[in-house]
């Protein structure tokens, strides 16, 4: 990777972190559990990496099997995380 590409990634990292801190500070304590399970689902974004790793041809390499393993785990995270967060948020009602 060249320096320009690396700097670009760091750029994104720093700005996204600041944005994250700003936004998440505004989430009310009532919603901290759904926030955590929801961010759990978001951290399943590794699914993108897992897909790329699985796309390799043939079943002979270590790299392919690791990719498939990662894909199963990341999908559990994504699907389970969003589903359980939705289930919880559905319960928050104001009367």
């Amino acid at each position: 990777m060249d320096t320009a590409a690396l700097l670009m990634l760091i750029y994104v990292l720093v700005l996204a972190s600041f944005l994250g801190f700003e936004l998440i500070s505004k989430v009310p304590p009532t919603l901290h559990t759904p926030l955590m399970s929801g961010s759990n689902a978001i951290s399943g974004i590794t699914i993108v990496g897992a897909l790329i790793a699985t796309s390799e041809m043939g079943f002979t390499t270590m790299s392919k099997w690791l990719g498939m393993f990662a894909l199963v785990l990341a999908t559990i995270n994504v699907v389970g995380g969003y589903a359980v967060t939705d289930r919880m948020l559905k319960m928050f009602k104001k009367k």
Binding site: G20, V48, V84
Partner: protein, 462 residues
């Protein structure tokens, strides 16, 4: 990579950010979660578009398996067990990042036989470390939370030195991994060390500190995804990863503040051990008991009630009878609210979810800062399954392990009723002076059974 895909990743990133922004208002929160999920779907589809169509079968097979497991777990899990689920899922996220990093390493060294450049190599090593620590750390936290492993801290001498040595070894072997990339032994050692460190850093931390630990591991799982983003030169992974990283860190901070502990103090562990051996010699606390009927009469004659729920309420599954109790109070025009301490329950916001499940309106759930001044002019405080969060020793006794921790001023109310199974100690293993206060009455017995009886008495009175 085509620019269409890059644009799709940008849209996904924006949807993640919007999703979290919508979580700022309780009424919009569900919409936010949906937006975030749409973002994820876009990111997945965009990735699939770039990939070789010939490997779709195994991809869909993997996603089908993962999706089915995730969906089944999400539908089936009890709200009391959400902390365990989050702990486990943090671990899966960490392991997925570790596996992607390893996969990339083997792809380059064995299949493509190209050299891994410095930045890439550092990213892979970082991803292995964070991912591995997140995985085993989360598994230990999960075992502690579901009681398969004792919540007691496990400490031994030289523990911190060992951790330090392991980290130094990790760095050394990391350099070797970079220098001798074709040798798979070095990266294997890295994985083993990372997994070991994860276990070692969580075992000394006691059960009472698990809210801090899962918040922190949540943050790590985001950082692991971030590191993976650096390996794959992929922005969407970095954006999503750093949002999660920031979220976990903020929650960690809030939890630490609510316990008046520094993060370092929590991580070094052993909390609760010293206290368990400590204040046995103190004066025996004499308590006054109250019966079901009398308790019902106290509720009946009050004009304002604050209920302080703790994890014990969830264990006794008393949420639903508490809602009935609240309804009885509201029928009598008694103001009835809930005071929520930030560390009540086993994870941030846990009490709110449990009470929401019991169909209690969320505007009745009041945070500590907002309600603490109201205890002075409240007739009756009902403490259910909470202990340390109402222990006045936190204010008055510098010897107490929880001294300095912000607490709910339950003792300031005219009358306090504490529903408790027995005179056992709280999760942190500390005596509670409140129980001996002149305005405090103990309602012994299983919370669900006794409260059901109280509600029954109140129904008869009406």
């Amino acid at each position: 990579m085509s620019s269409i895909v890059q644009i799709a990743y940008l849209v996904a990133s924006i949807l993640f950010v919007m999703g979290i922004k919508f979580l700022g208002k309780t009424k919009d929160a569900r919409k936010g979660n949906f937006l975030s999920a749409v973002g994820m779907l876009i990111a997945i589809i965009a990735t699939l578009v770039t990939l070789d169509i010939l490997s779709f079968v195994e991809m869909f097979a993997c996603m089908l398996i993962g999706g089915a497991i995730g969906l089944y777990y999400a539908k089936k899990v009890e709200m009391t067990q959400i902390p365990e689920m989050v702990a486990l899922f943090n671990g899966f996220g960490g392991m997925a990042s570790l596996a992607v990093a390893l996969s990339d390493h083997f792809l380059k060294t064995e299949v493509l036989q190209t050299e891994i450049d410095t930045v890439n190599s550092i990213s892979i090593i970082a991803s292995v470390l964070i991912g591995g620590v997140t995985f085993t750390g989360s598994i230990v936290a999960w075992l502690k939370l579901n009681g398969k492993v004792s919540g007691q801290p496990i400490t031994f001498s030289g523990q911190h030195l060992l951790n330090l040595l392991l980290l130094l070894t990790f760095l050394g072997v990391g350099v070797m991994t970079y220098l001798f990339q074709i040798e798979p032994i070095y990266i294997t050692i890295l994985v083993v060390i990372a997994l070991l460190v994860g276990v070692l850093i969580v075992i000394p931390i006691g059960g009472a500190d698990m809210p801090v630990v899962i918040s922190l591991l949540n943050s790590y799982s985001g950082m692991a995804a971030c590191a993976t983003g650096f390996i794959l030169n992929n922005n969407v992974l970095i954006v999503a990863g750093s949002l999660v990283g920031a979220s976990g860190l903020i929650l960690t901070q809030i939890m630490c503040k609510a316990m008046n502990r520094s993060l370092m103090n929590v991580l070094l562990g052993g909390f609760g051990q010293t206290s368990a051996a400590g204040p046995q010699d103190g004066p025996q606390i004499v308590v006054k008991e109250v019966g079901v009927e009398e308790a019902a009469m106290l509720f009946d004659s009050a004009s304002s009630v604050i209920i302080v729920p703790g994890y014990g309420m969830a264990v006794a599954q008393a949420q639903h009878v508490i809602r009935e109790l609240m309804e009885q109070c509201e029928k009598r025009n008694i103001q009835c609210r809930f005071a929520i301490h930030p560390v009540a329950g086993r994870m941030p916001g846990h009490m709110n979810v449990l009470l929401a499940e019991a169909n209690i309106s969320y505007d009745k759930l009041i945070e500590m800062e907002a309600i603490n001044d109201d205890f002075n002019n409240t007739d009756l405080v009902f403490v259910v399954g909470a202990n340390d969060v109402v222990n006045p020793a936190a204010r008055t006794n510098p010897q107490s392990p929880i001294f300095g921790m912000p607490i709910l001023n339950a003792d300031k109310a005219r009358t306090v009723i504490v529903s408790k199974r027995s005179m056992g100690k709280g999760y942190a293993g500390i005596e509670n002076e409140l129980f001996g206060f002149p305005n405090c009455l103990m309602l012994f017995g299983d919370a669900k059974q006794t409260i059901t009886k109280v509600v029954g008495e109140m129904k008869e009175m009406a």
